[in-house]
C-alpha cells in the first residue's frame, strides 16, 4: 500500500509541476463554468435584432421584451451588422407605423416570428380571435444543461486515461520503466499506483462539475459508481496506448483517436432513434451516458445503475483480456 501511494504521490507531484495533472483536474471545472455561463443564453430568444440608434427608444425598447437588441447609427451600419457572420435581423420602423425587416438571407430561423411580432405591434389594438397563454410543468433544467453536463461527466473520465498514457510514455523515454523491474516494487503495485490517478482525477473533477452545474440534488453514490466504472475503461486504454507508444506523438494521436468513439457514443445516444441504439451497445461510454442521464433526471434506480456498471465493467474485462498480453509485454 505504501509503495502504491509512493507511485501515486510521485506521479501527482511531477504532474502538478508539469501542469498536466493540474490541467486534467482544472479543465472540467473551467468547461463546467463555461457551460453554466452559456446555458441561460442558448435558446433564450428566437432571434436577435438590431435597430437604428434613433429608434432605440421606440421599436428597440419594445423588442427587448422578446430578444436581445443592439443598435446601429444609420441604415448602412445596420446592413453591415446584418451581413456579419452571426444571425441578427435589422428592424426599421417606417413613418406609416409599419416595419421593415432587413435580413442577410442565410438565417437559420426566427424571421417569421419576428414578422408576426412586428405586425402585432402595428395592430396593438386588434383583439385576436384566440387568446394565447403560456404555462409550464415546473421543470427548470434546460436540455443543454442536462446533455452538456452529462457529456462533460462522461468525457472527463477519458482525461484520467490521458494522464496515464502520457505518464507511461515519459517513463519509457526516461528508461524508468525498466528500472521498476529491478526495484523492490512489484509490477502490480506499480500499475495500481499509476491507475489510482486515473480514478482519482475523474472522481475529483466530477464532484466539481456536479456542484458548478447545480446538480447537487442527484444521488451522488449512483453518480460515483458510474464515473468510477467508466474511468476503468479509460485507465485500461491509457495503459495500452502509453505502453504501445514509443513517443508522445503516438500517445497524443492515440488519445485523440479515443475521443472519437466517446463522441460517437454520446451523440449517437442523443440523436439515433431507438431502433439504431443497439449499434452502440459495445461502447461503455454509451451505457455511462444513458445511466448518467437518468441519474441527472432523478429517474435512476440502483438496479439500473448496477446493471449498467456490470455491463461497463464486463466490456472493460473483455478489453483487459484482449489487451493483457500487450500490456505485459510493454511493461517488460
Amino acid at each position: 500500500m505504501k509503495r502504491i501511494y509512493a507511485v501515486l504521490r510521485r506521479d501527482l507531484m511531477s504532474g502538478l509541476r508539469d501542469f498536466m495533472v493540474a490541467f486534467v483536474l482544472v479543465m472540467p471545472f473551467i468547461l463546467a463554468l463555461a457551460l453554466r455561463l452559456i446555458v441561460p443564453g442558448v435558446g433564450a430568444a428566437l432571434f436577435r435584432a438590431a435597430v437604428l440608434e434613433d429608434q432605440r427608444g421606440g421599436v428597440g425598447a419594445w423588442l427587448e421584451t422578446y430578444a436581445p437588441v443592439e443598435s446601429a447609427k444609420d441604415r448602412a451600419a445596420l446592413e453591415a451588422r446584418v451581413l456579419r457572420t452571426d444571425d441578427v435581423f435589422g428592424v426599421i420602423e417606417n413613418a406609416d407605423g409599419g416595419h421593415e425587416i432587413v435580413r442577410q438571407g442565410n438565417e437559420a430561423g426566427g424571421g417569421e416570428a419576428l414578422a408576426l411580432l412586428l405586425d402585432a405591434r402595428t395592430n396593438a389594438d386588434f383583439e385576436s380571435p384566440v387568446a394565447v397563454g403560456v404555462e409550464d410543468v415546473g421543470w427548470k433544467m434546460s436540455p443543454l444543461k442536462l446533455e452538456g453536463g452529462n457529456f462533460l461527466l462522461v468525457f472527463l473520465t477519458v482525461f484520467g486515461g490521458m494522464l496515464i498514457a502520457l505518464g507511461m510514455v515519459e517513463e519509457k523515454m526516461s528508461n524508468t520503466l525498466s528500472a521498476v523491474n529491478v526495484s523492490p516494487i512489484r509490477r502490480a503495485e506499480f500499475v495500481a499506483g499509476k491507475a489510482t490517478l486515473g480514478f482519482l482525477a475523474p472522481a475529483v473533477s466530477s464532484v466539481g462539475v456536479i456542484l458548478i452545474l447545480g446538480f447537487e440534488g442527484i444521488d451522488l453514490g449512483m453518480a460515483a459508481v458510474t464515473v468510477l466504472c467508466t474511468a476503468a475503461i479509460s485507465v485500461l486504454i491509457g495503459f495500452t496506448i502509453g505502453l504501445a507508444s514509443t513517443d508522445p506523438i503516438a500517445a497524443v494521436a492515440g488519445m485523440k483517436t479515443v475521443f472519437l468513439p466517446v463522441f460517437a457514443s454520446v451523440f449517437g445516444a442523443i440523436f439515433l432513434s431507438e431502433k439504431w441504439q443497439a449499434l452502440l451497445w459495445w461502447s461503455p461510454h454509451y451505457w455511462s451516458y444513458r445511466t448518467m442521464r437518468s441519474i441527472l433526471l432523478g429517474e435512476a434506480s440502483w438496479a439500473q445503475v448496477g446493471t449498467s456498471a456490470a455491463i461497463i465493467l464486463g466490456i472493460t474485462a473483455l478489453g483487459f483480456l484482449a489487451l493483457a498480453p500487450k500490456i505485459r509485454r510493454g511493461m517488460k
Partner: protein, 344 residues
C-alpha cells in the same frame, strides 16, 4: 532550398511513423460515421400533446396548424394526462385548448426552463398568426433580403466545418509541440543549431508536414462526404491558411515550455476553448462577444461557405487573409522565442 530540404526530410520522417496514418484513419472513421450512421437530415419533428377541453372548440383546425409547423401531435383526454406526458418526455411540449370567458384560449404548456423572452414571443406571435387572416388586420411588415442565395447544407455536411476546424485546421495545435519536443529530447534540435539552416527553416518545415497531413485529412473527408458540391480551390486555400494559423498557435504555446507534459495542458485547454465556438455555429442566434472573439468562430463559417454551391468568396478570402496574417505574426514571435530557448 534549405527550407525545402528541411520540409522534405521532415515529411519523409513523419510518414515513417504512425501519426499521419492515424490522422487519415480518424478522417476515414468520421466519414464512415457520417455516411453510414448519421442521417442526411435529422427528423426535427418534436413531440407535442394536445388537450381539448371543450368539444365546441376548433380542435381539428388547431391540430392541422400545429402539424404544419412540423409537430408530431398526439391527443390526450385530460389536462392532468397532458402534464404527465410532459413529465415523461422532457423534450415534448403541450397545448391546452380551452374556453375562457367565452373565448377560445390556446395555452402552451412548456417544461419550465424556457426564458421569459421566449414565452413572450410565443404568446404575441401566435396571437398575431391567428389574427392575420381576419379583415381589418394590417400585415405591414416588409422584408428586404440583402443577399439572396441558397445557403443551406444538409445536416450531415453541416457537421464538416466543426471537424475541419478542430481536426484539419487545428491539427498543428495538437501535434506540433510533440514534434518539437521529440526532436529536442533526441538531441536533433541541438544538432540543427550547428547546421547551416536557420531556426525558421526548421519550424516552417514542421508546419509544412502538418499542412500536408491536414490537407490530406480535410480533402479526404470533404471529397467523400460533400462530393462535387464543395468549392475545392477555395477550400484548399482556406485550409492551408487556417492550418498554418493552428500550427503557429501550437508553436507559440510550445515555445514557452521545456517539455511536452508542461505544454500539453495549455494545448488541450486551448482546443477545449476553441471548441466552444461550435455552440454558436449550430445556434447562430446565440453569439456572445466572447465566443465571436474566438479564432475558431469565423473559421467555422468560412469552412461552411466553401461547402456551399454559391459561396460568399469575399468572406472566405477575408478569413484567408486574417488567418495568414495571424499565422505570420505568431510564427515570428515563436521563432524569436525558439531562437533564444530551443538550443539552450
Amino acid at each position: 532550398m534549405k527550407l525545402l530540404h528541411s520540409f522534405l526530410k521532415d515529411l519523409r520522417l513523419a510518414y515513417r511513423t504512425y501519426y499521419v496514418y492515424m490522422e487519415l484513419g480518424i478522417a476515414l472513421l468520421v466519414v464512415a460515421v457520417l455516411i453510414f450512421v448519421m442521417p442526411e437530415n435529422f427528423n426535427r419533428s418534436a413531440k407535442a400533446w394536445l388537450h381539448v377541453a371543450d368539444a365546441s372548440l376548433p380542435a381539428a383546425a388547431i391540430e392541422k396548424a400545429l402539424g404544419e409547423d412540423g409537430l408530431d401531435i398526439g391527443r390526450v383526454a385530460t389536462g392532468a394526462e397532458l402534464r404527465e406526458r410532459l413529465e415523461e418526455d422532457r423534450s415534448a411540449i403541450g397545448f391546452d385548448l380551452r374556453l375562457e370567458d367565452g373565448r377560445p384560449k390556446l395555452v402552451f404548456v412548456l417544461q419550465g426552463y424556457e426564458s421569459a423572452s421566449l414565452r413572450a414571443s410565443l404568446e404575441t406571435s401566435v396571437e398575431a398568426a391567428f389574427s392575420r387572416a381576419l379583415p381589418g388586420y394590417r400585415a405591414s411588415t416588409v422584408t428586404t433580403t440583402l443577399r439572396s442565395r441558397d445557403a443551406t447544407l444538409s445536416d450531415r455536411v453541416n457537421v464538416l466545418p466543426v471537424f475541419l476546424a478542430m481536426n484539419a485546421a487545428f491539427m498543428g495545435l495538437f501535434i506540433i509541440a510533440s514534434y518539437i519536443f521529440l526532436d529536442k529530447s533526441e538531441g536533433a534540435v541541438k544538432a540543427f543549431a550547428v547546421s547551416p539552416a536557420k531556426v525558421w527553416h526548421y519550424l516552417a518545415g514542421k508546419m509544412g508536414v502538418v499542412a500536408v497531413t491536414g490537407l490530406a485529412s480535410g480533402l479526404l473527408t470533404v471529397a467523400l462526404v460533400a462530393g462535387a458540391d464543395a468549392q475545392y480551390p477555395l477550400f484548399v486555400v482556406l485550409l492551408l491558411a487556417t492550418n498554418a494559423f493552428g500550427s503557429a498557435v501550437g508553436l507559440f504555446i510550445a515555445s514557452f515550455f521545456d517539455d511536452l507534459s508542461s505544454a500539453m495542458g495549455w494545448v488541450f485547454g486551448s482546443v477545449a476553448l476553441l471548441g466552444l465556438a461550435a455552440v454558436s455555429y449550430y445556434l447562430p442566434s446565440f453569439s456572445p462577444l466572447a465566443v465571436r472573439l474566438l479564432p475558431s468562430y469565423p473559421m467555422l463559417f468560412a469552412f461552411r461557405e466553401t461547402l456551399l454551391a454559391a459561396p460568399d468568396a469575399g468572406l472566405v478570402w477575408a478569413n484567408v487573409g486574417g488567418y495568414s496574417a495571424g499565422a505570420l505574426v505568431l510564427f515570428l514571435l515563436a521563432e524569436r522565442q525558439y531562437r533564444r530557448r530551443m538550443t539552450a
